[in-house]
Subunit: 347 residues, 2 copies
DNA sequence: TTGTAAGCGTTATCAG
DNA sequence: CTGATAACGCTTACAA
């Protein structure tokens, strides 16, 4: 008995039902589904109509098996900032919505020696259509090569151009920080503390470099006593803030490499009885939710995270039936300073 | 030519390779993979050894097709609180890690009339192993019935017992709020404002009821002028805070139904030149990141969101090869008051 | 431009 | 307890 001669009407329609109903072979139906160019317009219409009537939807599992490729987009990351991850998810999902692709989330441990192997196992098993890599692991070239060798598309998000346009979405952190710190200098600050991001993060380096460039441009020396390092988390910002405020003379302003650490520094200031911004100006980076929600509202640098994630998703979908446009997406995205209430002239 | 006689050694090993190498049929290998109880121990060991040697991993796509069921857990939600969603993801992923299951994230629009149909289409297409439903849509019984009719397992997370144990993970919001507000009363507050959550949220109702019960238990009347409603977002908390502070006489304390709104109320107080907690005490709910990061650190109610998500994931995995234990997971989780610095006696 | 046959890698059925 | 054979629903050769 032929496996294709299933009785119709029960359960969801399959490609066989459509083929029978429209009087063509299932391969032809397959061609319609996949927008094959070599198809008689009439045939296509006939099949398309039946598909619409029946509400037929191709079975993704069967397609995945035959194509050796799943209709899934992976978000693989080891990002310490929850808000960032969430923003990226939001952007990706907004593009994936309405397509046949779904989002699968895969955190990894960048500290682990087996990280690359873990990702390899994941990719080999799931055969995703493509993945989005978040910083800091997006900076790992081994991972990019791995994807390549496995035939898995990828887009890296990062704070510098690390790859070709089709595989990269970047922000200009360095320039953005330069602007932010120049803003502090313009307000009259001369002793400005820096809370760096963790070692090994490209974004940390870019932001630190931007800080240095701004000082240099103003002819200011970088005082080593005013430079501390955090790990992008609140607690580290708190510790770094305490340390900076212990310097003599005290800095009149602090640039923290992300908002969470800025919030930590703000806590340190409050705990020390200091008023922000009267006694201490603070600028953060990211413009995550917390920036606007703490008091005083934090002046910070906003990078268009959701837009960047959307671009990443579109790049992954480029060339597929679900591509929403033919125009290539931007690769470099500009950040901007969001002025709120945490900056004032030094007294 | 038999499709099973592929030449070995190229590409990833398949079930056929394992069958050939261990001298059994592929069905037997399948039985080993699926922990079939009716298997000769020797046979099993032999096959298991080969599997380990070759590093064979069953192909999820093929399994999905044959089983008509994917090895995926879905997180379907329309939750307005980013931190909550993230916490849930974290909990789910920590349980899924090391299993053969992956997490797929699916936001839906609870306002849309087609919401249930959208979820139906999603479930029919993806054939997930199971899904986790977050509030407020977890309160929707139609959705639960839908899952049932589609043979998709589910676990609902919520603030009240809405389903049987195997399908429910709940917190005791009402009691927790009662405790929190009693704490305010014990500190000497008599005029306490309430910022309710949005209509239609069970959690909003539970928390409001807990508030009312605490007042009643202390013999205090509920002044309608001291009750406002927000939508669980910061801005709504800001507006609600302004409104409450305009009441005469002013409340000396506010309970906000979540942290974001509490942060908004805090902003309103600062903007009005009030000191927190000296002039106004505030308690929030959730203990999301912002609670500890704003100034003053917010006294709030912590519900064990990550633990609850873990329990949800384990309930979904119960009975599978990946079940990590036989003991059933708890259904009701207790919240606790986290005392920080936003509460003081009224002056 | 369309159809036929043979997979994709697994599990279910049912007989031994 | 084990194995042959037929699905699962789709796509890729290769013909026609």
């Amino acid at each position: 008995m032929d496996s294709d001669s299933d009785s119709p009407g029960q359960g969801k329609p399959t490609i066989n039902d459509i083929a029978r109903l429209s009087g063509v072979s299932k391969k032809t139906v397959s061609r319609v589904i996949n927008r094959s160019p070599l198809l008689n317009a009439e045939t296509r219409k006939r099949v398309d109509d039946i598909i619409r009537e029946t509400g037929y939807v191709p079975n993704p599992q069967a397609r995945a098996l035959a194509l050796r490729r799943n209709f899934l987009i992976g978000l693989v990351h080891d990002n310490p900032n929850a808000q960032t991850v969430l923003g990226v998810q939001q952007g990706l999902l907004s593009v994936l919505k309405g397509t046949e692709y779904e989002l699968i989330v895969r955190p990894v441990d960048r500290g682990s020696l087996s990280m690359v192997d873990d990702v390899r196992a994941f990719l080999e098993r799931q055969r995703l259509h493509g993945i989005v890599l978040l910083p800091p692991i997006s900076e790992n070239d081994d991972l990019a090569r791995l994807c390549d060798s496995l035939g898995c598309r990828y887009v890296r998000m990062g704070s510098a151009l690390l790859d070709v346009d089709e595989r990269m979405v970047a922000s200009n952190d360095r320039e953005a920080v330069r602007t932010a710190v120049a803003h502090l200098i313009a307000a009259g600050h001369r002793r400005i503390g820096l809370i760096e991001g963790p070692e090994g993060f490209r974004s940390a380096r870019e932001r630190r470099d931007g800080f240095g460039e701004a000082l240099a441009a103003a002819g200011l020396a970088l005082d080593p006593a005013l430079v501390t390092r955090g790990n992008y988390r609140f607690e580290s910002g708190l510790a770094a803030g305490r340390q900076l405020l212990a310097a003599a003379p005290r800095p009149t302003a602090i640039f923290a490499s992300n908002d969470e650490m800025a919030a930590g520094a703000l806590h340190a200031a409050r705990a020390a009885g200091l008023d922000v911004p009267a006694d201490l100006s603070i600028i953060g980076f990211d413009d995550t939710a917390i920036a606007a929600h703490i008091w005083p509202p934090l002046t910070t640098v906003r990078w268009p995270i959701i837009e960047m994630a959307k671009a990443a998703a579109r790049k992954l979908l480029a060339g597929t039936v679900d591509a929403q446009t033919n125009a290539p997406d931007a690769t470099l995205f500009l950040s901007q300073l969001i002025e709120r209430a945490s900056v004032a002239p030094p007294r």
